[in-house]
Amino acid sequence: MTGTNATLLKVDGVTKAYPGVVANDTVSFSVEPGEVHALLGENGAGKSTLVKMIYGLVQPDSGQMIWNGAPYQPATPHVARSTGVAMVFQHFSLFEALTVAENVALGMEDPPTMRLLSQRILEVSETYGLPLAPERLVGDLSAGERQRVEIIRCLLQDPKLLIMDEPTSVLTPQEVEILFETLRKLSREGTAILYISHKLEEIRSMCDNATILRLGKVVGDCKPREKSARELAEMMVGQTLHIPSREGNELGEVVIELNDLSVTATSQFGTSLKDVSLSVRAGEVLGIGGVAGNGQDELLAALSGEAQAASAAIRLNGNEIGKLGPNQRRELGLLTAPEERLGHAAAPDMSLTENAVLTGTIRENLTNNGFLKWGDAKDFAERIVKDFDVRTPGPENSARSLSGGNLQKFVIGREVLQRPVALVVNQPTWGVDASAAADIRQALLDLAVGGTAVICISQDLDELMEISDRFAALNEGRLSEPRPTEGLTVDQIGLMMGGAHDMEVSHVEA
């Protein structure tokens, strides 16, 4: 930091409180032109609130921000945009039924004619190595391409500061590389980038400086290139990390087997499963990676029994179960935990006891002639809470009242405690803090040691590398041939995930 004049944005002692939680507590940091600055922290550390204040979506309670030496208090995103701040959100705000150019126009203050706009989109996309055809429908684009639409929308405003919120969570490794090239080029041209992530390797390779947040406070600044990923993680979490461990265990017979499983998507932009085949042995963990929206939800639904398949397409211990419903499968020992916690894995306004009944009626024997045994159900819920360290005053509280991480522990714990023969989980540690995530992974590994066949669907490649024996990737509803995890390179994984979705890096001039 060379001096006030060179500083683009200075955030000085900013505080923002919501009922019951202080999201940001006297946070200070500064960004210089051309700097790639990381905001690092776990979920709930306050990163999103902080950038929302910079983007004018939220007003700080106290503290000030200084932009190029002048006080900066954006009341709306409109003000922020005209100052030169642009933001790419984690969740895209695009209309699937409109074209790329139409979507870009919708986000502009004063859009030019379509023809002119298409031309400008092409120019920008070529300059920054982000190939994108303006006339394509957004509904047909991959997640990586959709992100480009958002980025180009920002770049057309010629921003001084570009905020990127978890930009790589939906990208393949190859797409991440393309994105990084673009960001580096922008940075060389003097655009500052505020990069939010909890992915440590990315931050180490991409960012010049990092501000680390924990529970709303700045707990450290560092140059990420000079730290190891583990050091960064421990700064972020504030404690020594327990890394899940597993003993090499003997694999048993094949427990669950899919043969050419095909399921037609029910929604328009859903993904149909095409000839998915795999087999998992007792004691084995199969990791299934892939960019979101490539059939993960559909695969889980086909395995849980929510979607019906051909009878012989799914076998559990040799029994054909493709036509069975969820509870019949539970009876045979196939248990599942979907990604969406509220509204799918759990009913938000029902108590934890009732949510324990949701999947536990059969294997935990919670009914008697159709009448519920509420006492036993409560005991089961309490066991989950205790064994999985779910932080809640008691099982009578609603699922909605739990934090995401705690509810996730409950949802996974509910299935793990039912002694599954085979367990399928989708995004088991999504939105969960690092130490709870480690506990969940350990629980999955312990199950495998006990002889359960585990299928873990996840977008977190580090997680899959850590716990799975074999790895396969979903790409547009097809599953790649599973390969042993040991020795897989990032490049190989990226290719299994569909590479860069047939996109090439345009020539990025230096």
Partner: protein
């Protein structure tokens, strides 16, 4: 500036308090309405809400209360099961009419038998009539994905046309000098739904309604089916994940509400109404929708709401005869009740903040 802020979970206090508040607001708004009609508002509200229970002629009106409340409660209890699961049977009126036609028709076919089996048979056939009428929207919905709201509602008008047809045709009283309408059940003791306790207005329909309340309470709190009904209403996707078969649930809920409405129709036509006639149905099937919501879709709540709604009927009759209020004014009052209740629901799901300061 007023600002609405979503509560983390619905407030139990407000959920219980809003029906009472809605009643109070209805009285106020109704009073204003009555004063525009040239009636003393205080007297009108007293005549409708107070006199039937505590007034001079209460001995007569009290009996009427249960007579009016029983069909409302019986129908509303059935509807509440479906409403809880997000299955919207709006056509209880039609099922009520069909139950009456089936039940009464079966009884009249055996005139003038004195067998004690006649009345139980009429109950069963009444339930069947309502059930089969509700199965039409159920099957159309599960097989072809039609909207049960529209189908069940339209079937009300079909049922009304059938009622008009049978009361001047198939079921017309052969000794009635050609007037439309069936034999009066007073003249057919084995099939008459007579009062068991005349002064209190207790007949078999009242007893059945009470049994239905208790049965539904147990179903919803203790039984897996009740759990599945609540789960489906709360979160359809979680319900599917939990192994609930939506088709089965639609058939059960529509079937149960149809059967209960059918029974209510049978009890009404063979007792208080006395005969099948073009207009024996007094819109109970529609009013029961208000009763179900006013009672928060909770069995005990429905019991109380049914009594309250019966009060507006009885009190409305009294007001019509003593104060000359038009009958439509009473329907307006009933409509207002539902309107205020739904509007006040915002209080159980949201908190009102008075300024734009956000407290820590």
């Amino acid at each position: 500036m007023l600002k609405l802020e979503r509560r983390a979970s619905p407030s139990t206090m407000w959920t219980a308090a809003t029906p009472l508040l809605a009643v109070v607001l209805t009285m106020l708004a109704g009073g204003i309405l009555f004063s525009f009609l040239g009636t003393n508002p205080v007297e009108a509200v007293r005549t409708i809400f107070w006199d039937p229970i505590f007034g001079e002629f209460a001995f007569y009106y009290r009996g009427q209360l249960l007579v009016k409340a029983a069909p409302l409660i019986l129908i509303a209890i059935g509807l509440s099961l479906g409403f809880r699961a997000g299955i919207w049977n709006i056509g209880a009126e039609g099922q009520y009419i069909m139950g009456a036609i089936f039940g009464a028709g079966a009884g009249l076919a055996f005139f003038p038998s004195e067998s004690f089996l006649i009345f139980p048979m009429m109950i069963i056939l009444g339930a069947f009539g309502g059930w089969i009428w509700a199965m039409i929207p159920a099957i159309l919905k599960t097989k072809f994905g039609t909207n049960e709201i529209l189908v069940s509602l339209m079937l009300v008008y079909v049922a009304e046309a059938m009622l008009a047809s049978v009361s001047s045709g198939l079921l017309r009283n052969p000794d009635g000098q050609g007037f439309p309408g069936s034999r009066n059940f007073k003249d057919f003791p084995a099939a008459h739904n007579n009062f068991l306790i005349e002064s209190a207005g207790v007949h078999w329909g009242v007893i059945t309604a009470l049994i239905a309340v208790i049965f539904t309470y147990i179903l919803l709190t203790r039984h897996l089916l009740g759990f599945h009904i609540r789960l489906t209403g709360e979160s359809p996707r979680a319900a599917r994940f939990g192994g609930v078969n939506p088709t089965r649930l639609i058939v059960i809920c529509l079937g149960l509400s149809g059967a209960l409405a059918g029974m209510a129709g049978m009890f009404e036509v063979s007792g208080p109404a006395g005969q099948i006639s073009i207009d024996f149905n007094s819109g109970y099937g529609f009013t029961a929708i208000i009763v179900a919501f006013l009672g928060r879709l909770h069995p005990i709540g429905i019991l109380l709401a049914g009594l309250l709604m019966a009060l507006t009927y009885v009190g409305g009759d009294a007001a019509a005869s003593t104060l000359g209020l038009p009958a439509a004014a009473i329907q307006l009052l009933q409509g207002m009740l539902l309107f205020f209740l739904l509007a006040l629901d915002v209080l159980s799901n949201f908190r009102i903040r008075t300024s734009k300061t956000e407290a820590a």
